[in-house]
Symmetry: C2
Subunit: 316 residues, 2 copies
Amino acid sequence: MLPEDERVAVGPGDDAAVLRLTGGELAVTTDMMVEGVDFFPGEDPRRLGRRALAVNLSDLAAMGAHPEFFLLSIGFPPEKGDDFPLEVARGALTRARPFGASLVGGDLSGAPAIVVSVALWGRPSGRPLLRSGGREGDFLFVSGWPGRAEAGRRLAAGSFPAGALAIEHERELLAAYHDPEPRVALGLALAREGLASAAIDVSDGVGLDAGRLARASGAKAVIELGEIPISPALAEAARGKGEDPVEWALSGGDDYELLFSAPPSALARLTAGGPDWNVPVTRIGRLEPGAGAVAIGPSGERDIAASGWNHLGRRA
Amino acid sequence: MLPEDERVAVGPGDDAAVLRLTGGELAVTTDMMVEGVDFFPGEDPRRLGRRALAVNLSDLAAMGAHPEFFLLSIGFPPEKGDDFPLEVARGALTRARPFGASLVGGDLSGAPAIVVSVALWGRPSGRPLLRSGGREGDFLFVSGWPGRAEAGRRLAAGSFPAGALAIEHERELLAAYHDPEPRVALGLALAREGLASAAIDVSDGVGLDAGRLARASGAKAVIELGEIPISPALAEAARGKGEDPVEWALSGGDDYELLFSAPPSALARLTAGGPDWNVPVTRIGRLEPGAGAVAIGPSGERDIAASGWNHLGRRA
Protein backbone atom coordinates (compact mmCIF):
# COMPACT_ATOMS: atom_id res chain seq x y z
CA MET A 1 0.00 0.00 0.00
CA LEU A 2 2.96 2.35 0.61
CA PRO A 3 5.05 3.63 -2.28
CA GLU A 4 8.86 3.74 -2.04
CA ASP A 5 10.36 6.94 -0.64
CA GLU A 6 14.14 7.28 -0.46
CA ARG A 7 13.77 9.85 2.34
CA VAL A 8 12.36 7.06 4.55
CA ALA A 9 15.10 4.86 6.06
CA VAL A 10 12.65 2.85 8.22
CA GLY A 11 8.94 2.88 7.40
CA PRO A 12 5.92 1.77 9.44
CA GLY A 13 6.19 -1.45 11.46
CA ASP A 14 9.05 -0.77 13.87
CA ASP A 15 8.83 1.15 17.17
CA ALA A 16 9.36 4.36 15.21
CA ALA A 17 9.97 5.43 11.63
CA VAL A 18 13.37 6.82 10.67
CA LEU A 19 13.57 9.66 8.16
CA ARG A 20 16.60 11.10 6.37
CA LEU A 21 16.34 14.87 6.54
CA THR A 22 18.35 17.72 5.18
CA GLY A 23 18.83 20.64 7.55
CA GLY A 24 16.64 23.73 7.55
CA GLU A 25 13.20 24.77 8.67
CA LEU A 26 10.43 22.22 9.12
CA ALA A 27 6.74 23.11 9.56
CA VAL A 28 4.71 20.72 11.74
CA THR A 29 0.98 20.51 12.31
CA THR A 30 -1.59 18.13 13.75
CA ASP A 31 -5.37 17.80 13.78
CA MET A 32 -7.70 15.42 15.55
CA MET A 33 -11.14 14.70 14.09
CA VAL A 34 -13.88 13.09 16.18
CA GLU A 35 -17.09 11.41 15.02
CA GLY A 36 -20.18 13.40 15.88
CA VAL A 37 -18.14 16.58 16.43
CA ASP A 38 -15.97 17.07 13.35
CA PHE A 39 -17.82 14.72 11.02
CA PHE A 40 -21.15 12.91 10.85
CA PRO A 41 -21.54 9.37 12.21
CA GLY A 42 -21.49 6.84 9.40
CA GLU A 43 -19.05 8.86 7.29
CA ASP A 44 -17.41 6.85 4.51
CA PRO A 45 -13.95 5.79 5.79
CA ARG A 46 -12.06 6.69 2.58
CA ARG A 47 -13.65 10.12 2.46
CA LEU A 48 -12.85 10.54 6.14
CA GLY A 49 -9.20 9.74 5.51
CA ARG A 50 -9.09 12.19 2.61
CA ARG A 51 -10.64 14.93 4.71
CA ALA A 52 -8.32 14.31 7.68
CA LEU A 53 -5.34 14.77 5.36
CA ALA A 54 -6.87 17.81 3.65
CA VAL A 55 -7.35 19.61 6.96
CA ASN A 56 -3.67 19.14 7.82
CA LEU A 57 -2.48 19.93 4.28
CA SER A 58 -4.44 23.17 4.58
CA ASP A 59 -2.50 24.09 7.74
CA LEU A 60 0.79 23.62 5.89
CA ALA A 61 -0.61 25.58 2.93
CA ALA A 62 -1.32 28.45 5.32
CA MET A 63 2.38 28.36 6.34
CA GLY A 64 3.56 28.19 2.73
CA ALA A 65 5.09 24.77 3.35
CA HIS A 66 5.48 21.80 1.05
CA PRO A 67 4.16 18.60 2.74
CA GLU A 68 6.62 15.70 3.14
CA PHE A 69 5.60 13.12 5.80
CA PHE A 70 2.60 12.21 7.91
CA LEU A 71 1.51 9.96 10.76
CA LEU A 72 -2.05 8.61 10.91
CA SER A 73 -3.68 7.31 14.09
CA ILE A 74 -7.17 5.84 14.12
CA GLY A 75 -9.44 4.98 17.02
CA PHE A 76 -12.54 3.01 16.08
CA PRO A 77 -15.15 0.62 17.49
CA PRO A 78 -13.72 -2.88 16.87
CA GLU A 79 -17.06 -4.00 15.41
CA LYS A 80 -16.30 -1.76 12.39
CA GLY A 81 -13.88 -4.51 11.36
CA ASP A 82 -10.20 -4.66 10.50
CA ASP A 83 -10.78 -3.19 7.04
CA PHE A 84 -12.12 0.07 8.43
CA PRO A 85 -8.75 1.65 9.37
CA LEU A 86 -7.25 0.38 6.11
CA GLU A 87 -9.94 2.23 4.18
CA VAL A 88 -9.25 5.42 6.17
CA ALA A 89 -5.55 5.02 5.36
CA ARG A 90 -6.27 4.43 1.68
CA GLY A 91 -8.28 7.63 1.57
CA ALA A 92 -5.52 9.55 3.32
CA LEU A 93 -2.95 8.22 0.87
CA THR A 94 -4.98 9.34 -2.16
CA ARG A 95 -5.09 12.85 -0.70
CA ALA A 96 -1.39 12.94 0.20
CA ARG A 97 0.10 11.43 -2.95
CA PRO A 98 -0.41 14.37 -5.37
CA PHE A 99 1.61 16.50 -2.93
CA GLY A 100 4.38 13.92 -2.47
CA ALA A 101 3.66 13.36 1.23
CA SER A 102 4.51 9.88 2.58
CA LEU A 103 2.78 7.94 5.36
CA VAL A 104 5.53 6.90 7.80
CA GLY A 105 3.65 5.51 10.79
CA GLY A 106 0.60 5.56 13.00
CA ASP A 107 -1.33 3.79 15.69
CA LEU A 108 -4.63 1.93 16.02
CA SER A 109 -6.79 1.72 19.11
CA GLY A 110 -10.23 0.57 20.01
CA ALA A 111 -12.51 3.53 20.82
CA PRO A 112 -16.22 4.16 21.49
CA ALA A 113 -16.33 6.66 18.58
CA ILE A 114 -14.18 7.13 15.49
CA VAL A 115 -11.16 9.37 16.02
CA VAL A 116 -8.63 10.22 13.30
CA SER A 117 -5.47 12.05 14.29
CA VAL A 118 -2.90 13.20 11.73
CA ALA A 119 0.52 14.79 12.24
CA LEU A 120 2.07 16.28 9.10
CA TRP A 121 5.53 17.74 8.38
CA GLY A 122 6.80 19.84 5.51
CA ARG A 123 9.24 22.46 4.25
CA PRO A 124 8.49 26.17 3.96
CA SER A 125 9.03 27.28 0.36
CA GLY A 126 10.26 30.67 1.56
CA ARG A 127 9.86 32.62 4.76
CA PRO A 128 7.00 30.82 6.59
CA LEU A 129 3.64 32.61 6.44
CA LEU A 130 2.68 33.56 9.99
CA ARG A 131 -0.59 34.96 11.28
CA SER A 132 1.33 37.82 12.84
CA GLY A 133 2.90 39.53 9.82
CA GLY A 134 -0.04 41.72 8.74
CA ARG A 135 0.40 45.51 8.71
CA GLU A 136 -2.08 48.38 8.82
CA GLY A 137 -2.92 49.28 5.26
CA ASP A 138 -2.56 45.72 3.96
CA PHE A 139 -5.42 44.31 1.93
CA LEU A 140 -7.16 41.10 3.02
CA PHE A 141 -7.65 38.34 0.46
CA VAL A 142 -9.46 35.03 0.40
CA SER A 143 -9.12 32.10 -1.96
CA GLY A 144 -12.07 30.37 -3.56
CA TRP A 145 -15.62 30.60 -2.24
CA PRO A 146 -16.02 30.46 1.56
CA GLY A 147 -19.41 29.34 2.85
CA ARG A 148 -19.75 26.43 0.46
CA ALA A 149 -18.73 23.94 3.17
CA GLU A 150 -21.49 25.22 5.46
CA ALA A 151 -24.01 24.60 2.68
CA GLY A 152 -22.49 21.16 2.09
CA ARG A 153 -22.66 20.36 5.80
CA ARG A 154 -26.36 21.24 5.85
CA LEU A 155 -26.93 19.12 2.76
CA ALA A 156 -25.10 16.19 4.38
CA ALA A 157 -27.21 16.66 7.52
CA GLY A 158 -30.31 16.22 5.40
CA SER A 159 -31.67 19.72 5.97
CA PHE A 160 -32.59 20.18 2.29
CA PRO A 161 -35.37 18.16 0.64
CA ALA A 162 -34.26 15.96 -2.26
CA GLY A 163 -34.05 17.91 -5.51
CA ALA A 164 -34.04 21.27 -3.76
CA LEU A 165 -30.84 22.27 -5.55
CA ALA A 166 -29.56 21.90 -9.09
CA ILE A 167 -27.65 18.61 -9.16
CA GLU A 168 -24.33 20.23 -10.10
CA HIS A 169 -24.75 22.73 -7.27
CA GLU A 170 -25.48 19.99 -4.79
CA ARG A 171 -22.39 18.13 -5.96
CA GLU A 172 -20.19 21.22 -5.64
CA LEU A 173 -21.38 22.01 -2.13
CA LEU A 174 -21.13 18.43 -0.84
CA ALA A 175 -17.60 18.17 -2.25
CA ALA A 176 -16.61 21.45 -0.57
CA TYR A 177 -17.65 19.94 2.77
CA HIS A 178 -16.65 16.29 2.39
CA ASP A 179 -13.53 16.69 0.31
CA PRO A 180 -12.09 20.21 0.57
CA GLU A 181 -9.20 21.10 -1.71
CA PRO A 182 -6.21 22.30 0.34
CA ARG A 183 -4.71 25.40 -1.29
CA VAL A 184 -1.15 24.09 -1.21
CA ALA A 185 0.04 25.56 -4.53
CA LEU A 186 -1.29 28.99 -3.61
CA GLY A 187 0.33 28.88 -0.15
CA LEU A 188 3.66 27.81 -1.63
CA ALA A 189 3.55 30.69 -4.12
CA LEU A 190 2.68 33.20 -1.39
CA ALA A 191 5.71 32.15 0.67
CA ARG A 192 8.12 31.59 -2.23
CA GLU A 193 7.37 34.94 -3.87
CA GLY A 194 6.98 36.79 -0.56
CA LEU A 195 3.52 37.97 -1.63
CA ALA A 196 1.58 37.68 1.65
CA SER A 197 2.37 39.42 4.93
CA ALA A 198 0.23 37.03 7.03
CA ALA A 199 -1.96 33.99 6.40
CA ILE A 200 -4.40 31.62 8.10
CA ASP A 201 -6.63 28.89 6.76
CA VAL A 202 -10.38 29.31 7.14
CA SER A 203 -11.36 26.40 9.34
CA ASP A 204 -13.82 28.15 11.65
CA GLY A 205 -15.41 30.92 9.55
CA VAL A 206 -14.05 34.00 7.79
CA GLY A 207 -15.13 36.16 10.74
CA LEU A 208 -13.42 34.18 13.48
CA ASP A 209 -10.29 33.49 11.44
CA ALA A 210 -9.99 37.11 10.27
CA GLY A 211 -10.16 38.05 13.94
CA ARG A 212 -7.32 35.61 14.72
CA LEU A 213 -5.10 37.01 11.97
CA ALA A 214 -5.89 40.57 13.07
CA ARG A 215 -5.13 39.83 16.73
CA ALA A 216 -1.82 38.13 15.90
CA SER A 217 -0.91 41.06 13.63
CA GLY A 218 -1.91 43.76 16.14
CA ALA A 219 -4.45 45.28 13.76
CA LYS A 220 -8.18 45.43 13.02
CA ALA A 221 -9.65 43.35 10.18
CA VAL A 222 -12.30 45.15 8.13
CA ILE A 223 -14.25 42.85 5.81
CA GLU A 224 -16.37 44.38 3.04
CA LEU A 225 -19.41 42.07 2.87
CA GLY A 226 -20.13 42.98 -0.74
CA GLU A 227 -16.68 41.75 -1.81
CA ILE A 228 -16.90 38.21 -0.40
CA PRO A 229 -17.04 35.88 -3.42
CA ILE A 230 -20.24 33.81 -3.36
CA SER A 231 -20.51 30.80 -5.61
CA PRO A 232 -23.82 30.45 -7.47
CA ALA A 233 -24.30 27.08 -5.75
CA LEU A 234 -24.01 28.65 -2.30
CA ALA A 235 -26.31 31.49 -3.36
CA GLU A 236 -28.97 29.00 -4.44
CA ALA A 237 -28.68 27.00 -1.21
CA ALA A 238 -28.88 30.01 1.10
CA ARG A 239 -31.72 31.53 -0.90
CA GLY A 240 -33.62 28.27 -0.48
CA LYS A 241 -33.36 28.71 3.28
CA GLY A 242 -34.23 32.39 3.16
CA GLU A 243 -30.75 33.22 4.49
CA ASP A 244 -27.88 35.45 3.37
CA PRO A 245 -25.03 33.38 1.84
CA VAL A 246 -22.53 35.94 3.11
CA GLU A 247 -23.42 34.94 6.66
CA TRP A 248 -22.60 31.32 5.82
CA ALA A 249 -19.18 32.46 4.60
CA LEU A 250 -18.58 34.55 7.72
CA SER A 251 -19.47 31.92 10.27
CA GLY A 252 -19.78 28.58 8.51
CA GLY A 253 -16.29 27.15 8.83
CA ASP A 254 -14.74 23.98 7.37
CA ASP A 255 -13.89 25.80 4.11
CA TYR A 256 -10.09 25.41 4.24
CA GLU A 257 -9.65 28.40 1.99
CA LEU A 258 -6.66 30.67 2.65
CA LEU A 259 -7.27 34.09 4.19
CA PHE A 260 -4.23 36.35 3.96
CA SER A 261 -2.98 39.90 4.05
CA ALA A 262 -0.72 41.54 1.49
CA PRO A 263 0.35 45.07 0.68
CA PRO A 264 -1.79 46.86 -1.93
CA SER A 265 1.12 46.62 -4.36
CA ALA A 266 0.49 42.85 -4.60
CA LEU A 267 -3.13 43.25 -5.71
CA ALA A 268 -2.57 42.85 -9.45
CA ARG A 269 -0.21 39.89 -9.04
CA LEU A 270 -2.63 38.12 -6.68
CA THR A 271 -5.79 38.59 -8.69
CA ALA A 272 -3.93 37.55 -11.87
CA GLY A 273 -3.38 34.16 -10.20
CA GLY A 274 -0.73 31.51 -10.78
CA PRO A 275 -0.55 28.69 -13.33
CA ASP A 276 -0.99 25.98 -10.67
CA TRP A 277 -3.15 27.72 -8.08
CA ASN A 278 -6.39 26.36 -9.53
CA VAL A 279 -8.36 28.84 -7.46
CA PRO A 280 -9.12 32.54 -7.75
CA VAL A 281 -8.04 35.05 -5.12
CA THR A 282 -10.35 37.91 -4.15
CA ARG A 283 -9.69 41.08 -2.16
CA ILE A 284 -12.32 41.21 0.62
CA GLY A 285 -11.08 43.91 2.97
CA ARG A 286 -8.09 45.48 4.71
CA LEU A 287 -6.18 45.78 7.96
CA GLU A 288 -6.63 49.05 9.84
CA PRO A 289 -5.31 50.47 13.09
CA GLY A 290 -7.17 49.02 16.05
CA ALA A 291 -8.21 45.55 17.13
CA GLY A 292 -10.85 42.94 16.37
CA ALA A 293 -12.70 42.09 13.18
CA VAL A 294 -15.68 43.93 11.72
CA ALA A 295 -17.85 43.57 8.64
CA ILE A 296 -19.02 46.57 6.64
CA GLY A 297 -22.24 46.21 4.70
CA PRO A 298 -25.35 48.12 3.71
CA SER A 299 -26.49 48.29 7.33
CA GLY A 300 -23.18 49.62 8.64
CA GLU A 301 -20.38 48.03 10.66
CA ARG A 302 -20.63 45.09 13.06
CA ASP A 303 -18.32 42.84 15.06
CA ILE A 304 -17.60 39.46 13.43
CA ALA A 305 -14.58 38.29 15.45
CA ALA A 306 -16.75 35.71 17.21
CA SER A 307 -18.55 34.49 14.06
CA GLY A 308 -17.65 30.83 13.73
CA TRP A 309 -16.87 27.61 15.54
CA ASN A 310 -14.63 27.04 18.54
CA HIS A 311 -12.31 24.08 19.03
CA LEU A 312 -14.94 22.00 20.83
CA GLY A 313 -17.31 22.04 17.90
CA ARG A 314 -19.55 24.67 19.42
CA ARG A 315 -20.47 28.10 18.10
CA ALA A 316 -17.88 30.56 19.40
CA MET B 1 3.73 27.16 30.36
CA LEU B 2 6.27 26.48 27.58
CA PRO B 3 9.98 27.00 28.17
CA GLU B 4 12.13 28.74 25.57
CA ASP B 5 13.72 26.52 22.94
CA GLU B 6 16.05 28.06 20.36
CA ARG B 7 15.33 25.16 17.98
CA VAL B 8 11.71 26.37 17.73
CA ALA B 9 11.28 29.28 15.28
CA VAL B 10 7.47 29.31 15.61
CA GLY B 11 5.80 27.63 18.58
CA PRO B 12 2.15 26.69 19.22
CA GLY B 13 -0.55 29.16 18.17
CA ASP B 14 -0.04 29.51 14.42
CA ASP B 15 -1.32 27.12 11.73
CA ALA B 16 1.82 25.04 12.23
CA ALA B 17 5.00 25.13 14.29
CA VAL B 18 8.30 25.82 12.55
CA LEU B 19 11.45 24.05 13.77
CA ARG B 20 15.08 24.68 12.88
CA LEU B 21 16.65 21.31 12.21
CA THR B 22 20.11 20.11 11.38
CA GLY B 23 20.28 17.40 8.74
CA GLY B 24 20.46 13.71 9.55
CA GLU B 25 18.22 10.90 10.71
CA LEU B 26 15.03 11.58 12.62
CA ALA B 27 13.03 8.90 14.46
CA VAL B 28 9.27 9.56 14.55
CA THR B 29 6.58 7.78 16.55
CA THR B 30 2.95 8.26 17.58
CA ASP B 31 0.53 6.67 20.03
CA MET B 32 -3.16 7.22 20.65
CA MET B 33 -4.64 6.42 24.07
CA VAL B 34 -8.39 6.04 24.55
CA GLU B 35 -10.40 6.12 27.79
CA GLY B 36 -11.81 2.73 28.72
CA VAL B 37 -9.38 0.94 26.39
CA ASP B 38 -5.89 2.19 27.20
CA PHE B 39 -6.68 3.72 30.59
CA PHE B 40 -9.43 3.64 33.19
CA PRO B 41 -12.29 6.18 33.12
CA GLY B 42 -11.70 8.92 35.68
CA GLU B 43 -7.91 8.82 35.31
CA ASP B 44 -6.17 11.87 36.74
CA PRO B 45 -5.42 14.23 33.80
CA ARG B 46 -1.82 15.02 34.82
CA ARG B 47 -1.01 11.35 35.25
CA LEU B 48 -2.67 10.66 31.91
CA GLY B 49 -0.47 13.26 30.22
CA ARG B 50 2.64 11.80 31.84
CA ARG B 51 1.72 8.30 30.71
CA ALA B 52 0.92 9.38 27.14
CA LEU B 53 4.40 10.89 26.90
CA ALA B 54 6.06 7.91 28.57
CA VAL B 55 4.57 5.49 26.04
CA ASN B 56 5.98 7.54 23.15
CA LEU B 57 9.32 8.14 24.89
CA SER B 58 9.55 4.37 25.27
CA ASP B 59 9.16 3.93 21.49
CA LEU B 60 12.06 6.30 20.87
CA ALA B 61 14.08 4.53 23.60
CA ALA B 62 13.54 1.28 21.69
CA MET B 63 15.05 2.97 18.60
CA GLY B 64 17.98 4.40 20.59
CA ALA B 65 16.82 7.94 19.81
CA HIS B 66 17.06 11.09 21.88
CA PRO B 67 13.62 12.82 22.08
CA GLU B 68 13.42 16.42 20.80
CA PHE B 69 9.85 17.58 20.00
CA PHE B 70 6.27 16.45 20.47
CA LEU B 71 2.70 17.28 19.45
CA LEU B 72 -0.19 16.67 21.86
CA SER B 73 -3.84 16.35 20.77
CA ILE B 74 -6.65 15.88 23.25
CA GLY B 75 -10.27 14.94 22.68
CA PHE B 76 -12.49 15.28 25.75
CA PRO B 77 -16.11 15.75 26.80
CA PRO B 78 -16.59 19.54 27.04
CA GLU B 79 -18.20 19.16 30.47
CA LYS B 80 -14.74 18.22 31.82
CA GLY B 81 -13.98 21.93 31.59
CA ASP B 82 -11.31 24.02 29.92
CA ASP B 83 -8.74 23.19 32.58
CA PHE B 84 -8.83 19.48 31.77
CA PRO B 85 -6.64 19.60 28.62
CA LEU B 86 -4.29 22.05 30.36
CA GLU B 87 -3.77 19.53 33.14
CA VAL B 88 -3.05 16.78 30.60
CA ALA B 89 -0.53 19.09 28.93
CA ARG B 90 1.09 19.96 32.25
CA GLY B 91 1.53 16.27 33.00
CA ALA B 92 3.01 15.65 29.56
CA LEU B 93 5.46 18.51 30.02
CA THR B 94 6.71 17.15 33.34
CA ARG B 95 7.45 13.84 31.64
CA ALA B 96 9.13 15.41 28.61
CA ARG B 97 11.27 18.04 30.32
CA PRO B 98 13.95 15.77 31.85
CA PHE B 99 14.65 14.47 28.35
CA GLY B 100 14.75 17.93 26.76
CA ALA B 101 11.69 17.33 24.55
CA SER B 102 9.63 20.44 23.68
CA LEU B 103 5.88 20.69 23.07
CA VAL B 104 5.48 22.45 19.72
CA GLY B 105 1.77 22.10 18.93
CA GLY B 106 -1.42 20.14 19.22
CA ASP B 107 -5.15 20.19 18.78
CA LEU B 108 -8.24 20.08 20.98
CA SER B 109 -11.60 18.60 20.08
CA GLY B 110 -14.79 17.72 21.81
CA ALA B 111 -15.21 13.93 22.09
CA PRO B 112 -17.55 11.45 23.80
CA ALA B 113 -14.54 9.84 25.58
CA ILE B 114 -11.07 11.09 26.43
CA VAL B 115 -8.49 10.56 23.68
CA VAL B 116 -4.85 11.60 23.95
CA SER B 117 -2.69 11.41 20.85
CA VAL B 118 1.03 12.19 20.91
CA ALA B 119 3.51 12.41 18.05
CA LEU B 120 7.15 12.49 19.17
CA TRP B 121 10.37 12.70 17.23
CA GLY B 122 14.05 12.64 18.03
CA ARG B 123 17.58 11.79 16.94
CA PRO B 124 19.13 8.31 16.94
CA SER B 125 22.29 8.32 19.07
CA GLY B 126 23.92 5.83 16.72
CA ARG B 127 22.62 3.34 14.20
CA PRO B 128 18.86 3.10 15.00
CA LEU B 129 17.84 -0.04 16.90
CA LEU B 130 15.48 -2.00 14.67
CA ARG B 131 13.41 -5.05 15.51
CA SER B 132 14.95 -6.82 12.58
CA GLY B 133 18.66 -6.92 13.48
CA GLY B 134 18.65 -10.00 15.71
CA ARG B 135 20.78 -13.01 14.72
CA GLU B 136 20.66 -16.69 15.67
CA GLY B 137 22.87 -17.16 18.69
CA ASP B 138 22.16 -13.71 20.13
CA PHE B 139 21.05 -13.52 23.73
CA LEU B 140 17.76 -11.87 24.65
CA PHE B 141 17.73 -9.27 27.43
CA VAL B 142 15.05 -7.34 29.26
CA SER B 143 15.32 -4.22 31.39
CA GLY B 144 13.72 -3.90 34.79
CA TRP B 145 10.88 -6.09 35.98
CA PRO B 146 8.17 -6.91 33.45
CA GLY B 147 4.77 -7.88 34.85
CA ARG B 148 4.65 -5.13 37.44
CA ALA B 149 2.32 -3.02 35.25
CA GLU B 150 -0.16 -5.92 35.03
CA ALA B 151 -0.20 -6.10 38.83
CA GLY B 152 -0.61 -2.30 38.98
CA ARG B 153 -3.45 -2.43 36.47
CA ARG B 154 -5.26 -5.02 38.61
CA LEU B 155 -4.68 -2.88 41.70
CA ALA B 156 -6.05 0.19 39.89
CA ALA B 157 -9.07 -1.88 38.80
CA GLY B 158 -9.79 -2.62 42.46
CA SER B 159 -9.26 -6.34 42.20
CA PHE B 160 -7.24 -6.48 45.44
CA PRO B 161 -8.84 -5.83 48.84
CA ALA B 162 -7.43 -2.84 50.72
CA GLY B 163 -4.26 -3.74 52.63
CA ALA B 164 -3.73 -6.95 50.67
CA LEU B 165 -0.18 -5.89 49.78
CA ALA B 166 2.64 -4.24 51.68
CA ILE B 167 2.21 -0.51 51.17
CA GLU B 168 5.60 -0.05 49.45
CA HIS B 169 4.78 -2.94 47.10
CA GLU B 170 1.40 -1.45 46.25
CA ARG B 171 3.07 1.90 45.52
CA GLU B 172 5.70 0.28 43.29
CA LEU B 173 3.15 -1.66 41.26
CA LEU B 174 0.72 1.24 40.84
CA ALA B 175 3.59 3.48 39.69
CA ALA B 176 4.71 0.86 37.18
CA TYR B 177 1.24 0.97 35.64
CA HIS B 178 0.29 4.65 35.99
CA ASP B 179 3.67 6.24 35.49
CA PRO B 180 6.09 3.90 33.70
CA GLU B 181 9.69 5.02 33.40
CA PRO B 182 10.77 5.06 29.74
CA ARG B 183 14.22 3.49 29.38
CA VAL B 184 15.65 6.33 27.32
CA ALA B 185 19.20 6.33 28.75
CA LEU B 186 19.49 2.57 28.24
CA GLY B 187 18.21 2.80 24.66
CA LEU B 188 20.60 5.63 23.85
CA ALA B 189 23.54 3.62 25.21
CA LEU B 190 22.53 0.51 23.26
CA ALA B 191 22.50 2.49 19.99
CA ARG B 192 25.51 4.73 20.74
CA GLU B 193 27.75 1.83 21.78
CA GLY B 194 26.32 -0.56 19.18
CA LEU B 195 25.52 -3.07 21.96
CA ALA B 196 22.15 -4.41 20.79
CA SER B 197 21.39 -6.14 17.50
CA ALA B 198 17.60 -5.57 17.75
CA ALA B 199 15.21 -3.95 20.22
CA ILE B 200 11.51 -3.46 20.96
CA ASP B 201 9.68 -1.97 23.90
CA VAL B 202 7.42 -4.25 25.91
CA SER B 203 4.00 -2.70 25.47
CA ASP B 204 1.93 -5.84 24.97
CA GLY B 205 3.67 -8.55 27.00
CA VAL B 206 7.12 -10.16 26.83
CA GLY B 207 5.67 -13.10 24.90
CA LEU B 208 3.98 -11.10 22.15
CA ASP B 209 6.80 -8.60 21.83
CA ALA B 210 9.49 -11.29 21.80
CA GLY B 211 7.52 -12.89 18.99
CA ARG B 212 7.51 -9.58 17.08
CA LEU B 213 11.28 -9.14 17.46
CA ALA B 214 11.85 -12.75 16.43
CA ARG B 215 9.63 -12.47 13.37
CA ALA B 216 11.28 -9.24 12.22
CA SER B 217 14.71 -10.84 12.77
CA GLY B 218 13.84 -14.09 11.00
CA ALA B 219 14.59 -16.17 14.09
CA LYS B 220 12.92 -18.00 16.99
CA ALA B 221 12.83 -16.41 20.45
CA VAL B 222 13.43 -18.84 23.32
CA ILE B 223 12.60 -17.39 26.74
CA GLU B 224 13.84 -19.19 29.86
CA LEU B 225 11.03 -18.69 32.35
CA GLY B 226 13.32 -19.09 35.35
CA GLU B 227 15.46 -16.17 34.18
CA ILE B 228 12.70 -13.54 33.97
CA PRO B 229 13.37 -11.04 36.76
CA ILE B 230 10.42 -10.88 39.15
CA SER B 231 10.20 -8.00 41.61
CA PRO B 232 9.23 -8.99 45.17
CA ALA B 233 6.20 -6.70 44.84
CA LEU B 234 4.97 -8.57 41.78
CA ALA B 235 5.67 -11.89 43.47
CA GLU B 236 3.54 -10.87 46.45
CA ALA B 237 0.68 -9.67 44.24
CA ALA B 238 0.56 -12.76 42.04
CA ARG B 239 0.90 -15.06 45.04
CA GLY B 240 -2.12 -13.29 46.58
CA LYS B 241 -4.13 -14.28 43.53
CA GLY B 242 -2.74 -17.80 43.44
CA GLU B 243 -1.11 -17.07 40.09
CA ASP B 244 2.39 -17.32 38.67
CA PRO B 245 4.05 -13.87 38.41
CA VAL B 246 5.99 -15.07 35.37
CA GLU B 247 2.70 -15.35 33.48
CA TRP B 248 1.95 -11.72 34.28
CA ALA B 249 5.33 -10.76 32.80
CA LEU B 250 4.74 -12.85 29.68
CA SER B 251 1.28 -11.55 28.85
CA GLY B 252 0.59 -8.51 31.03
CA GLY B 253 1.76 -5.67 28.83
CA ASP B 254 2.07 -1.92 29.56
CA ASP B 255 5.52 -2.40 31.10
CA TYR B 256 7.51 -0.25 28.68
CA GLU B 257 10.68 -2.12 29.48
CA LEU B 258 13.15 -2.72 26.65
CA LEU B 259 13.49 -6.21 25.21
CA PHE B 260 16.54 -6.57 23.02
CA SER B 261 18.98 -9.00 21.46
CA ALA B 262 22.76 -8.78 21.63
CA PRO B 263 25.66 -11.09 20.85
CA PRO B 264 26.92 -13.17 23.81
CA SER B 265 30.09 -11.06 23.83
CA ALA B 266 28.01 -8.11 25.14
CA LEU B 267 26.75 -10.03 28.21
CA ALA B 268 29.26 -8.68 30.73
CA ARG B 269 28.96 -5.10 29.50
CA LEU B 270 25.14 -5.22 29.61
CA THR B 271 24.76 -6.78 33.02
CA ALA B 272 27.37 -4.37 34.44
CA GLY B 273 25.00 -1.54 33.48
CA GLY B 274 25.62 2.12 32.74
CA PRO B 275 25.97 5.09 35.11
CA ASP B 276 22.69 6.66 33.94
CA TRP B 277 20.62 3.61 33.02
CA ASN B 278 18.93 3.47 36.42
CA VAL B 279 17.67 -0.01 35.66
CA PRO B 280 19.21 -3.47 35.63
CA VAL B 281 19.41 -5.58 32.49
CA THR B 282 18.84 -9.34 32.66
CA ARG B 283 19.52 -12.09 30.15
CA ILE B 284 16.25 -14.03 29.71
CA GLY B 285 16.82 -16.17 26.63
CA ARG B 286 18.26 -16.38 23.13
CA LEU B 287 17.49 -16.33 19.42
CA GLU B 288 17.62 -19.69 17.67
CA PRO B 289 17.06 -20.88 14.13
CA GLY B 290 13.37 -21.13 13.38
CA ALA B 291 10.35 -18.90 13.91
CA GLY B 292 7.98 -17.85 16.66
CA ALA B 293 8.48 -17.42 20.39
CA VAL B 294 8.55 -20.16 23.01
CA ALA B 295 9.02 -20.32 26.75
CA ILE B 296 11.06 -23.06 28.41
CA GLY B 297 10.19 -23.95 31.98
CA PRO B 298 9.90 -26.92 34.32
CA SER B 299 7.01 -28.31 32.29
CA GLY B 300 8.78 -28.08 28.95
CA GLU B 301 8.42 -25.76 25.98
CA ARG B 302 5.29 -23.84 24.93
CA ASP B 303 4.30 -21.19 22.40
CA ILE B 304 4.11 -17.65 23.82
CA ALA B 305 4.05 -15.56 20.63
CA ALA B 306 0.36 -14.79 21.21
CA SER B 307 0.69 -14.02 24.94
CA GLY B 308 -0.37 -10.39 25.34
CA TRP B 309 -2.64 -7.63 24.09
CA ASN B 310 -3.49 -6.65 20.55
CA HIS B 311 -3.87 -3.09 19.30
CA LEU B 312 -7.60 -2.96 20.01
CA GLY B 313 -7.11 -3.60 23.70
CA ARG B 314 -8.13 -7.21 23.49
CA ARG B 315 -6.18 -10.32 24.38
CA ALA B 316 -4.26 -11.39 21.28
